[in-house]
Amino acid sequence: MSFRYAKTALTGAVVLSLLISLFANRLNSYWLIIGYNIGINLILAVSLNLINGYTGQFSLGHAGFMAVGAYTAATITNRFGDLNFVAANGIFFVALLAGGLAAAMAGLLVGLPTLRLKGDYLAIVTLGFGEIIRVILQNMNAVGGARGLSVMHGWTNFFWVFGLAAVTVYVVTALVNSTYGRGFIAVRDDEVAAEAMGINTTKYKVTAFVVGAFFAGIAGGLYGHAIQFLTPSGFGFMLSITYVVMVILGGMGNTAGVIIAAVLLTLLPEGLRLLADVQHLPGIAAERPLHWIGDTRMIIYSLLLIGLMLTRPQGLFRFQRQSR
């Protein structure tokens, strides 16, 4: 993604999300939630792209960081009753930040000891950390344990979701395009050579983990205040895999591609659901002729994944080779 217009794009996106949020209450709640999901998934995929795509570290624990952020933010806002508009949004912002910071701490905890690991080992350890976070949450009675936690306030709105999504995209793009940030790409391309050139690979890997986890935590907070109910089992490793798939389909280390993939993959299950509900097709007498899609849409999803990997392993949206 070209960085030249990034600040203009950032301002534009924030203003646009503010404008949309003014009209959001005209939308029906089904489409509203899908809209929130698009923005939240976008934050998660773009932040994971910093770890998996730009820095070349394979993390399978993003849902764990998201869970830390979601629970932290919800615990904070649940302490407050009904507040006026300004106070509510102020508290919400602080809670989101706190969720992000808590997740960043978790990222630091994961990043520090696992630096010595590479590739598959790192993948399985991050997966393990995600599962450990889930099991710990399941055993924490203060946040409801396995029964789940109700989030009292539905404070998530278009402005927060897409404003923060724009900030995420901006920060990640600015980071990897800065002089400092070339180090991430150096670590990905050849760790040994990067180390020999005097790059502190350890520091870069931890930075990637911490920044990625921070935004995952923020996305978790947004998610919690949109859905208003959290269960530990909702943050299993299947969810992490969803974000990894978005990053891979978008093309690792290609922010624009990852954004498109996040939007498409959020809409895909909804699209298949709509197709399954089609009442009539021209020329076919049967009612709901596509109802079988409803039962098989996850099979279709997995087949699409396998097919895409077999035909376009470099990602769906990478059309030119990156210069090396």
């Binding site: 394979f58 000891p113 696992t114 010595r116 690991l117 590739g119 598959d120 080992y121 993948a123 399985i124 350890v125 997966l127 393990g128 950390f129 599962e131 450990i132 099991v135 710990i136 399941q138 055993n139 040994v192 050579a193 020999a196 895999i241 990894v244 798939v245 891979i248 690792m252 039962d295 098989t296 996850m298 099979i299 999803y301 997995s302 087949l303 994944l305 396998i306 990997m309 077999l310 392993p313």
Partner: protein, 301 residues
Amino acid sequence: MTEFLQQLINGLAFGSILALIALGYTMVYGILRFINFAHGDVFMLGAFAGFYLAPRIAAVLPLPSIGGGLVVLVAAMAICAVLGVVIERFAYRPLRKQPRLTVLITAIGVSLFLEYTGQFAFGAAPKKFPQILPVYPIARVGGLSLDSNQIIVFVVTIILLLALRFVVLRTKIGAAMRAVSYNPEAAALMGVNTDVVISFTFALGSALAAAAGILWAINYPAIDPLMGILPGLKAFVAAVLGGIGNLPGAALGGVIIGITETFVSGYISSTYRDAIAFAVLILILLVKPSGLLGKKEVEKV
């Protein structure tokens, strides 16, 4: 003391099953260097193969009986062996030259495909696995209970481990497997047909997973299409713990994870049991990243 012995027996039985699954992970990793995420689902399909075969075999042979049970076991192993070869042929072989990450994602895709197809074809609700073996109580001293099903797990596991050891160390295809795992290019130059060896490895690993599935279903008779996820992950952890690519290591890792998990859930808290395997893994990797029996690999520039 009886409780300790009981936990030890339960842990060994659970660990033996994990060991059988872990062997499949470690063999594939030894040769192709990628995590076959779909392996846990082959384990699930092994149990379901047994579930659907049992009534058909009962029409010919008496069930539950030792002979009939063995036929179910062998038939499920054969079905999953074929399935493993098919998965490798269509999903992994076209990606042989691609980065390992691509293959890993494809493996996740295959895993999802098997799980969701399982939910579609078998139904998502748990099914009761039929009794295929007669159950005899062996010992019931104080609080200790040991029945023939647990003995069967130990016996079958030991026989399969010895058979695997024989195949890998004493046969021509076993020598070829070791050669390919040591250096695929050199092995190919020496006239080893790597495609055949890789197919054979998948067949072997999947058959062991199917055996584990049947043994699991005998001891914990509720089976469902998602039953393979957690045992699969834990077995992978066991393989890493023992040193991935190392066969005795995988068996040892399986037993260690099985016993640790059973003891922790028995003596400390059962709600933390699913986190134990990962905690052990992280500790081991911090101290000895190559695993208990693994060799240290030095990266060359």
